[in-house]
């Protein structure tokens, strides 16, 4: 189910909010309500995959219990959890990619394909909930979290519909206390803030991200036609689209959490004002970055084993971070590209970096990020190469974009918005009723566009 759909806004959400607050004296029933609603939300897309999420939840719950009851066997329980979660990811997300890659390799060597062609449906949000579930097992193993004995609470944690399919990736420690002590009555400030974040998020998605998409998608459907200007406008347009699309989802997720009286972590902190790639990753998809740092980079050794090992760890982390986004060589190359940028950033002496004005460093970082998004957006490496070639001017600069001056102007305005407008979660709550009226008009402008639902870009991951 999409947040930007009639069924979600007009039916699902009102029913869930009513059921949630109507049962406020009965915490078990409320957790059951939240879990059932979340499974319905997920199953609305394809009910068969609810079993996969339930299995993943059950395995991690029992592994957590096992680690608590049998401390000496913690390693085995952790291994069971990791093998299950990574196995699910391997089968549903990477097996087909692996087979295609091996077949392409052997075909290049003049041999018959060795793997049958697989058509496995990728369950929506699988990367998000498996990472969330795994973080619990690892935290229990590290004794950072007490294993929960409440299967309902754990099921509610894994499946919470506001952030289920595209994050933020929530740690058990973020919400355990909240789910164990649910708010007893709706708080007007939370509801008001929740609706505000949801409405702004919806606006960012439907009126900014989707509008930009209508400009750039036709161009990118034929990458051979790109030239210097259209290549750059598409790259800049996608840079804005991806930010507004993904941060919109995060705003809406946090807003929905507030409507339920739950606080979820923020996922964006003005990423395009970053003055280095490492700063970018502290501001973009924050919950994934911190997940990769805590559960991958640091266990690999982090920066504790000398410079060479640190650089290798950075590269490996970004390689796997890229692969997390999708089973495609474009994501692998994109991850390695960011790994390389982090390595270069780590090798540059700070004294020299500090000599460069911050505004120039922001510009250079932004340029690197834009080039990375080209690889990220392309459907394959050949398309990425065509696009980058066009941006270099190799295809000339004569082709018209087809939208007059409006496109460049609106893309530039969107990007200026990324740089200058504070994050939604930093905006102070409106005090005036006129602001509330304006927000209602903005929300209603979004409702008018719900007839053209488009999935969020990060659903594919």
């Amino acid at each position: 189910m999409l947040f930007n759909s009639y069924v979600f806004i007009l039916v699902f959400l009102p029913i869930v909010l009513f059921a949630w607050w109507a049962t406020r004296g009965r915490p078990r029933l409320r957790l059951a309500t939240l879990t059932a609603a979340s499974y319905f939300f997920y199953g609305y897309w394809d009910w068969r995959f609810t079993a996969l999420m339930a299995a993943s939840t059950a395995v991690d719950f029992y592994c957590g219990l096992g680690m608590g009851r049998h401390p000496s066997a913690r390693g085995r329980y952790l291994a069971a959890s990791l093998v299950t979660n990574l196995g699910v990811l391997a089968v549903f997300k990477y097996l087909g990619f692996f087979g295609r890659s091996v077949n392409a390799l052997v075909a290049a060597l003049g041999t018959e394909p060795v793997f049958p062609e697989l058509h496995i449906i990728l369950p929506v949000g699988i990367s998000f909930y498996t990472f969330q579930s795994m973080s619990y097992s690892i935290d229990v193993y590290r004794s950072k979290v007490e294993p929960t004995t409440d299967p309902l609470l754990f099921a509610a944690y894994v499946s919470m519909f506001p952030q289920l399919v595209a994050g933020p990736i929530v740690r058990f420690t973020d919400v355990e206390a909240q789910l164990a002590n649910l708010p007893q009555r709706p708080s007007a400030p939370h509801l008001e803030a929740g609706f505000r974040l949801f409405a702004f998020g919806l606006f960012k998605k439907l009126w900014i991200a989707d509008t930009i998409a209508t400009w750039i998608d036709p161009q990118l459907s034929n990458p051979m036609s790109l030239d210097l200007f259209s290549g750059w406008w598409c790259a800049l347009g996608y840079t804005a689209q991806l930010y507004f699309d993904f941060s919109a989802y995060s705003d809406m997720a946090v807003g929905l959490g507030l409507l339920l009286g739950l606080r979820l972590p923020q996922n964006f902190d003005s990423p395009y004002v970053s003055a280095s790639i490492s700063e970018f990753w502290r501001r973009w998809h924050i919950t994934l970055s911190s997940w990769l740092r805590d559960y991958l980079y640091i266990p690999l050794g982090g920066n504790r084993h000398g410079r060479t090992r640190t650089l290798l760890n950075l590269t490996v982390t970004m390689f796997l971070g890229g692969l997390w986004h999708g089973a495609n060589w474009t994501f692998v190359v994109w991850g390695l590209f960011h790994g390389l940028l982090l390595v270069v950033g780590a090798l540059l002496p700070k004294s020299i970096v500090q000599l460069v004005p911050r505004v120039a460093r922001v510009g250079i970082t932004f340029l690197c990020v834009v080039l990375g998004w080209v690889i990220f957006r392309a459907s394959d490496l050949a398309e990425a190469w065509l696009w980058l070639r066009a941006m270099s001017g190799a295809n000339g600069a004569a082709a018209a974009f087809g939208h007059g001056r409006a496109v460049p102007l609106l893309i530039v305005m969107s990007l200026i918005g990324c740089w200058l407008v504070p994050n939604m979660w930093q905006l102070r709550a409106p005090r005036s009723r006129f602001v509330a009226v304006g927000l209602a008009f903005l929300f209603f402008a979004c409702i008018l566009r719900l007839g053209e639902p488009s999935p969020f870009l990060y659903f594919q991951f």
């Binding site: 007007a188 606080r263 008018l448």
Partner: protein, 353 residues
């Protein structure tokens, strides 16, 4: 660690007031929009008609007219508005068959199938000739079935096996959507005196042939501005091909069902890819049109052999010697051009794609 601060209004009373204002205004806007759209009823969704339609309602008119046709026509023309100028009288002149033109605006595969089945349901022998003007968009993979089809119970009944249905929520959502509100506003902006005149500009005769009253008058007076019309159709047609990244398998299945049913009844099936003015065609080269046209041609090839259908690619009107001034815009040829096309079509034997 991810930041977890929130823009929460600390003053509960102010927050409560803002919340009430927000919800109340949203509800009022929603209720006003629904009320406007239901009363104006711009798409003919409800039985009442307070104002004349400002959108094309060919499905309503033609499905009613075809159902009442007696005796059953011997030939049927299917297609979109781009086929409406194929005159039944011209087909009759060439073949001697009584003909009905059941072309409707923005026809997709399901519209073609529904009208074919509706025609075959009439009392009488099977159709002898079926002429189908096929737009490549008839197999669009992202555009939903037309609301005007979904609102037409007579046509929808013909598609009971096609898993086409509209949920009540979707129907309700239409009344909250911008397309309906925009149509309502357009309807309300037309002055009462002009409304009926406006709605009478596009008319169909008893054989389903269209007359564009105002445009044909302008043409007869030699003051019709074709370049301007072509220019204004460019943007619309570029938009049509956005996201059209493959032919829709379900819609191809509907076309296949149509060919299968007609062939099995011994009906001669003549399919043509509808013409586009070369200027529009050139403008669309950078879109998905070229790739989807190739896909459709390849797909049609398979039926030429197996179902013995006749197929012709009329996308480039120069191919059948069309007069390039004989268009109403970039996609709608006039009767003379369609007559030239029908001469080519009815002499064909096999595929010319």
């Amino acid at each position: 660690m991810a930041p977890d601060s929130f823009p929460v209004q600390e003053d509960a009373a102010v927050a409560r007031r803002n919340l009430v204002v927000f919800l109340a205004v949203t509800l009022v806007l929603g209720a006003s929009t629904i009320a406007t759209n239901v009363v104006v009823n711009p798409f003919g969704k409800y039985p009442w008609r307070v104002l004349p339609p400002v959108i094309e309602t060919a499905r309503t008119e033609k499905s009613a007219a075809l159902s009442a046709t007696a005796p059953k026509p011997q030939a049927l023309i299917l297609g979109s508005s781009r086929t409406m100028k194929l005159a039944p009288s011209d087909i009759r002149e060439q073949t001697g068959l009584t003909t009905y033109n059941a072309s409707v605006h923005s026809a997709r595969a399901e519209d073609l199938l529904a009208f074919y089945r509706l025609a075959e349901r009439l009392d009488g022998p099977p159709l002898k000739l079926l002429v189908i003007g096929l737009d490549v968009e008839a197999a669009h993979n992202t555009v939903q079935p037309d609301a005007r089809l979904l609102n037409n119970k007579r046509l929808l009944a013909e598609l009971a096996d096609q898993d086409i249905e509209r949920s009540s929520l979707a129907a309700f959502g239409e009344d909250l959507g911008w397309p309906t509100l925009r149509a309502s506003i357009s309807s309300l902006r037309v002055s009462p005196a002009d409304r009926w005149a406006e709605s009478s500009q596009t008319t169909f005769n008893s054989a389903g042939f269209v007359t564009y009253g105002r445009d044909e008058k302008l043409k007869s007076e030699n003051i019709f501005n074709l370049p301007k019309r072509i220019a204004s159709s460019k943007q619309e047609y570029v938009a049509r091909f956005r996201g059209f990244d493959q032919l829709d398998a379900v819609r191809l299945g509907r076309l296949e069902a149509l060919f299968e049913a007609a062939s099995s009844r011994g009906t001669r099936v003549v399919v043509f890819l509808t013409p586009l003015h070369p200027e529009l065609l050139a403008h669309l080269q950078a879109t998905n049109l070229v790739a989807r046209l190739n896909d459709l041609r390849n797909w049609l090839h398979t039926f030429c052999a197996t179902k013995k259908i006749v197929a012709y690619d009329a996308t480039d009107p120069n191919r059948f010697g069309a007069d390039l001034h004989g268009f109403f815009d970039g996609a709608h040829a006039d009767r003379n051009n369609m007559r030239k096309l029908s001469h080519v079509l009815l002499e064909l034997d096999g595929c010319a794609l």
